[in-house]
Each structure stands twice: as structure tokens, then as C-alpha cells.
Amino acid sequence: MLPIESQAPAFNLDTNQGESRSFPDGETVLICFIKEDCPTCKLVVPILEQLHLSGLPMLVLGQTKDGNKLLIEQFNLTMPILDDSSLKVSFAYDIDTVPTVVQTSTDGIISAELIGFVKTEWQNLLGQNLLPQNMDNTFDWDALPDWRPGCGSLSVDPLIADRLQAEAENSPLRARKIDIAPADDEFEFMFDQGFSDGLPLVPPSPERVLRMLAGTSRDSQEIVAILPPNLAEATVEKVAINAVMAGCKPEYFPVVLAALEAACTDEFNAHGVMSTTMGASPVMVVNGPIRNRIGMNATLGALGQGNRANATIGRAVRLALRNMGGAKPGGTERSTLGNPMKFTMCFAESEERSEWDPLHVERGFDPSDSVVTLFGMTSGPVLIVDQTSVGSEQLARSMAMSLQNVHHPKAYMASDTLLVVCPEHLDTLQRDGHMSKAELRRVIQASLAQPLKQLVQNDASGVGVAAATLDKMDEARQNKLVTKFPKDEDIHIVVAGSDAGKFSGAFHGWATGPIGTISVSRKIEE
């Protein structure tokens, strides 16, 4: 309901006879909202007809076209009923219940409102110089009940209210509206426009985008990030549109927003990640309470298909970078092979399964914080198939052997890795002495360290140190041990997967460090 003494919104509607009526018109003092299938409305319709017959300047608005016709026939009405079947006036007046009667001054200031039917209220209102002189004698108030509750206004029907909000003047939506002709298939249309990653998209109707925006308290026009490579200003609304297309629920939206913020930092360097011929892509790990609240998968098949949150959050980020940032294959995205992570790669850490500090706590966040961390990765998950190592040291060194292949067995000091330890491997690592993450990193680095001269280019591989470069070094320098990963911390470790199966996985990084990409964590603001 609009407040008393506020200005009643102006409107222009047609009557059932096709005549246009406007408000304010300098005369009208009552506006009545009714709908045909409401028994209380039918109760008051004879009163409204009497008021009309007595010459009271009033407007009656009906909420369905067919219902208006039925009322006129059923009650043999002479009063016109204005067609508010679009419900825009009901919405503008913030009507929750019908019947609602709004009393105004002739210049449109609201002075009173009646909701439902309370006989004494109606009598009091109409008695304030509104009631026609002869009405008390002709109208049988005693035949009416003392009160009847009203019915819900159609304008607050959940299926309709979102559309009305989207179309209202104060709508948070500012994006360009694209009308799709009835003869066009909207799914094919979106493919044709180049909006898709190759899979069907959910049409981002104004109603759906509005519901997505309900997932955040941020203003729809706030700039979330500047998206490379086109340096596009991504508003909350624009991100919401892409999140709808990806298939997200509104409760996933804060994760999408935080992930995009992380992607568009200088450290993460989405410009390079999305455009490199190596085919890198953001890999997103979600930690904290929001994982469980929105139903993310951290266990069986966490890195695969089948979970809506995992699948659509990653896809939303990817679609935003594509549609706003312009990262399209063949354009600025130049990946030689591409990889399936470019569709989506997002999963949650199985924090409850591990006694290790989860990823976000390692990175300085509180355990109760919800955090998304982005890694720029070029391949993965590459399986570490080891079903027979029985001790922590043996398994750690075995894992290291698999990690030798990150980029190339002779590529050293070039990349980071995201090691996803499965629960059975975790149990093995912790069975005999509770190997810490730090110890696991040390064992991997020590196992893979090689003298520089072992990495010289040769007939078997051009990857490695050039012989001419090596020849300029003294013996000590040539024998100096080089680690596989620049720093121990470049081995990122999380726990995920089902309780059955000794199959961990590793994502292989891209150019690690300021030269390329640095993983970035962002707190998810809900």
C-alpha cells in the first residue's frame, strides 16, 4: 500500500467499452481495485454500482479482462470497469489485496485506504461527504456482513510480480532488451548471436534476471570488475544475465561475483589466462560454509558433472568473460587445443574429511569465511593412479613422480600445480605420522629436484636448458639442484573426492608468478 498523503500514481486505462480514462482528472476521488474471482469483491460491487449511479466521481479497476466482462454481465453493471489486466496500475499502487479502495483529493493526494471489507470502515469513509444523500435510504447495509477479508491481488502473484518489477519505472534492470520474434526459437537465436559456449543457454528474461539479482544485496548497477580483454565494465546486472544463461540459482550468485572479482585482478591476469595458446582456464575452488548451503559437491565426482552449483558457477564466470570481456575462441582466445575446463571447472573442498587446514584457512581466512580461489590451469585433472603405495613417504614420492610431467618432464621452475588429494590417499598420507601439507610439499620438491645439467637439451627433447648456456656455467652451478616448482607454496593442495578409490588428481598450471598468473582468493560476500 502507498502511504497516506503520498501522491497517487497517474495512469491511463481503457474501460470495457474502449473509452480512455485518465487519473488524475480533477474530479475522481475514489479508485477501487477488484477482481472477478474474489467473493469479497463481488460483495462490494453492488455498493460501487450504487455510488456510480449516484454520480460519485470514481474509477473501478478490474484485474482480468474476462473477469471484468463477467462482473458486468452478472451484476448488470452500468459503471465502467477499467482494464488493468496488465496489472501495472495495481503494481504501481502496491496493492496486496482486493478489494482495495483508495480515496484521494481531486489532485491525487491519498487521504484514506480500505482493504477488504469492514462495514463500519466503508460506512465511515463514504459518510465523509462522499455518500450520496439518498444512498442511506436505498442501500441495505444490514444485508451485508460486518467484515470479510479480501483476496490476494494478482499483482503480487509470484509468477507475475517479477515481470511487473522488471517492467516498472524503478526497475533495477538497465540492460538492453532484445525482443525475439514469435517465429524465432529463442535457443537458436542465442546460438546465432554468439552468446553461447556451444551448449544451450537459459534465456535471460527480465524476470529471471530479477530473481538472480535477489541473490545479492549489491546494487544492480555497481561495477563488479573490468573484464579483459575488452576492458568491459561488468555491472552486477550484466553478471546476473550471464549467470542466468549459465543456469545458476540466485543463491550461487555471490560466488560468481567473487570469482569474477578474483579473475579480473592483475595477479590472476585473466587477459593472459583466457588468450594464451596454451589453453589456460580458471579453476575455482570454493571453501567455507557456503559450499554446503548451496549444495556444492566436494565428494563423489566433485570435479565432474552432475552437480548444478559446481557446473553453473564455473560456467557463469566463463560466459561473463566471453560475452562481456570478449574472450571468444578465434578472437582474442587463441588456445591451440582448448580444454574442457573452458566450459566450467569449479568444485568445493571436502574440508570435513581432512584434518589439514583447508585452502582458505591456509591463505589467511577464517574457517567461517566463505571464499573462492581461482587458479589459472592448463590441464587437469591428470590422475595419479597409485593403488598400492602403503606409507606416507612412499605415496608422497609416488605422487611426485606423476607431477614430474607438469608441462613436460624437463620443464622446471615454470609452473604451479593444484593437487587434489582423494580421501583414500589422504588416509595413507596420515596413517603413519600425520604428514602435513608442508611435509608433503617438501617431499615432492625433494623427490623431483635435479642437478641443472640433467635438464640440458638433448636429442630426446629440446625442452630444458640450452647446452650453450650450461657450458658457460662452472661445475658447481651445473650441479646445483633445481626444484620442479618455483616454491613449495606453488604446490596447492586441497582434498576432494569420494571415500572409495586411490586416485588423486593434479591440475597443471600455466606461466606461474608475475610473468603469467598468480592464484587469487576472494571472500564471498553474502
Partner: protein, 92 residues
């Protein structure tokens, strides 16, 4: 008819005019290495050959800090202010 909202940034790129092409190479030529492997080898060869053919031209070498990011603004400004031409060596 159904309505969807535009998922793009709705910007129409500005059509830029190409700088008129000179008929002869004079003045200063920037040789920009984007810092990919062996880009410097390619530029070394360019510089060698071009100096033979264009003895009156100055060649200035530049390099981006990393090939993965756009050139910093100050580097772009410096190249623009001090040079008439740019040859950029991409990669590998």
C-alpha cells in the same frame, strides 16, 4: 514474443582510422620484443638486415615485461613519442 536481456557490454567499438602509410622508412624504428622465447632472435635478424638496407635509420629496442599482459602505458607512450615505426616480434 519473448524478451531477453543483452549479456554483452553493449559497446560499439569506435572505428579508428589507420595512420597514413609513409612511402619510405626514415627516422626511428622501434623493435619491440614481447618477451616470448626467441622473439629476440627474430629481432636481432631484423635489426641486422634493416641496418644494411637503411643506414640512415635509428633502431631502438624495447621489450614488454611479460608476453602475457598488455604493454604498460608508459612503455607504449615512450615508443610512440620516440619512434616513427614499430616492428613487434611475437613469439617462439
Amino acid at each position: 514474443m519473448s524478451t531477453i536481456l543483452d549479456p554483452t557490454d553493449e559497446r560499439v567499438p569506435v572505428a579508428r582510422q589507420i595512420t597514413p602509410r609513409p612511402t619510405a622508412i626514415t627516422g626511428n624504428v622501434a623493435l619491440l620484443d614481447i618477451s616470448k622465447p626467441r622473439g629476440n632472435v627474430l629481432l636481432d635478424q631484423f635489426e641486422l638486415r634493416l641496418k644494411e638496407r637503411l643506414p640512415g635509420v635509428n633502431f631502438n629496442r624495447y621489450s614488454k615485461p611479460t608476453f602475457t599482459k598488455p604493454a604498460p602505458d608508459d612503455l607504449r607512450q615512450e615508443i610512440r613519442q620516440r619512434n616513427d615505426f614499430v616492428i613487434e616480434a611475437l613469439a617462439d
